[in-house]
Amino acid sequence: MSTSRTRLAASTAAALAAALVLSSCGGSKSDDGSAAAADSCVDTSGDTIKLGFLNSTSGAMAISEQTVRDSLLLAAKEINADGGILGKQIEPVEEDGASDPAVFAEKIGKLLTSDCVAAVFGGWTSASRKAMLPVVEGSNGLLFYPVQYEGLEASENIYYTGATTNQQIIPAMDFLASKGVKTLFLAGSDYVFPRTANKIIKQYAAELGIEIVGEEYVPLDSDDWSTQVAKIVKAKPDFVFNTINGSSNVGFIKAYYEQGLGPDTSPIISVSIAEEEAPAMGKDVTGQFAAWNYFQSVETPANEAFIEAFQAEYGADRPTSDPMEAAYTSLYLYKNIVEKAESFDVDDVNAASDGVSFDAPEGTVTIDGENHHIAKTGLIGRINAENQFDVVWSSEGPIEPDPFLEGYDWWDPSAE
């Protein structure tokens, strides 16, 4: 091959590439910096209103998120049977987040800008919410997020119907203090929620005079907890605070019992084991504790109706749990806000949301228009032989949401 031809080709390539990049940059120099939110394309003229349901129906999170999808569909069906929202029937547009944050970002963009839904309901992991946040803010859409999370967030475009930390973590600590706990061991997945939760726990523990005798993290997908549990055995804590995610709990619970621990020696209080997870642990977890805002055993008329409707729709063997209830509640809350605002427009919805309430299965919940969270009652349940939770402690009435913990003077976000 002749060198001249090679060189020619090389320079052609370089020139072409440069031209392409330059031309594409130069062609679109426009309003940088200004917030140019796209105009809403939501169609409110017909008899129906489109709502997006975005949950993972494939991948590792599918098993959990499918339950949320089920309760959303149930709520939609009930609302439609009751005349819809502002007289319009809900038309669900379902999408799969595939347990992948990038897919959540992609699909919520599709739902808001291509399907033109009025609001999106879904997300589970913090990663999925963080990935959706810029998209929903950028297109001035609405997202209802139904899972307890690590707090420290408040977006104009997101409503958080699960607990923030002062409605789950802090009540759990209050409960431990009321039990006279002196030493606490922290076990969590190497993930944002456990890390943030433990940061809060450590600072509050110092305030309460509880000593933290160990803090261990294991990768999200790891099943091997034997080394860490050996440290618990050695530390002999009064309680173990468990912030482990998902199936990693199975390995933890197994190692915990195998090395001779139990509810009599160092009981566990969990924030991610609910009615669905308890029977899947492979060990009898009777006597262990969990902190939530809803248990299937909660006795309210709304809960009775919810359980009956849910089991009629999906089978009598299906338990109901906190995130499912929060998702069910989120759709009704949306209906109540829209009907107060008499508009589906995002700005109208935000203007009307403060103080809107709903008689949810967990009890009456009310939206805080400032931070878009809802007031919820903190509950501590103890697992019984039927893998249900007996409520052993509850906060005095609903706790006002405080995602940034501004009302807690022991909290110092910049401390370790």
């Binding site: 091997d224 034997s226 199975v250």
Partner: protein, 294 residues
Amino acid sequence: MESFTTPLLTGTSTGAILLIAALGLALTFGQMGVINMAHGEFLMAGAYTTYLTQQVVSSADVSVLLAIPVAFLVAGLLGLALEAGIIRWMYHRPLDTLLVTVGVGMVLQQLAKDLFGAQGDPVREPGWLQGNLTVLGYHWPYTRMFTIVLAVVALGGLAALLKRTRFGRQIRATVQNRDLAETMGISTRRVDRITFFVGSGLAGVGGVAVALASGTNPTLGTSYIIPAFLVVVAGGLGQLRGTVLAAWLVGVVTAFLTDWFSGSTAQVITFALVVVFLQVRPQGLFTVRTRGLA
């Protein structure tokens, strides 16, 4: 003292599971040169076999023991099907075999998700494995000691097969010189098939150990496959004693690092150590004296 015994003993148990997973690979990869990325899914199949056996035979005392031969058979048959259906056409394309088996692994994982759900199912340990033995301050669970017994039995069985039986001699002859072995009247096709059956079956036995240690779940194979391969490579191809030593070292080193730092950091450092070790000594712990494996 217990800060030393705890990681040592937990690491030995972890190393034992890794060893059973790696033994099968040592056979299929080390002896045959086939890279089967679905090996981890055979492990998963063994774990689910343990779970299913427990559904059928409700007494956990019996079912786990029964699960060992059944899991061997199930995983072995899966391996046999893979060899007969796909791998036999690809002996001259090792890298492509690797990719095809990645695809097989994906299909098996999704199949397990569809059959058993993504959540994973618990496996009860038999009554005679409940409890623990206190060794210098560490409560060593009997289930974890059992994995070591299982590994020793699997290792002994495999070594006996390779060294003492006629079939073992045939495998070694085929590995050393395929054409000459064929001239001697050995059916190398048959040897390939049975070797693959045994290698895959061993993964099934590893699955029983995994199920006892941490229950089942459709993706459990993915966390073992890469470490198991590294163990086989670091041990030295075709060298069982190398595989044993490497598996134990990886298990124990990871346990100590987990004890000192955190689980994630331990994983990263262990991987780095293995890679660096392979740089220094690419032939592994023990040198091989066969051709074409450098």
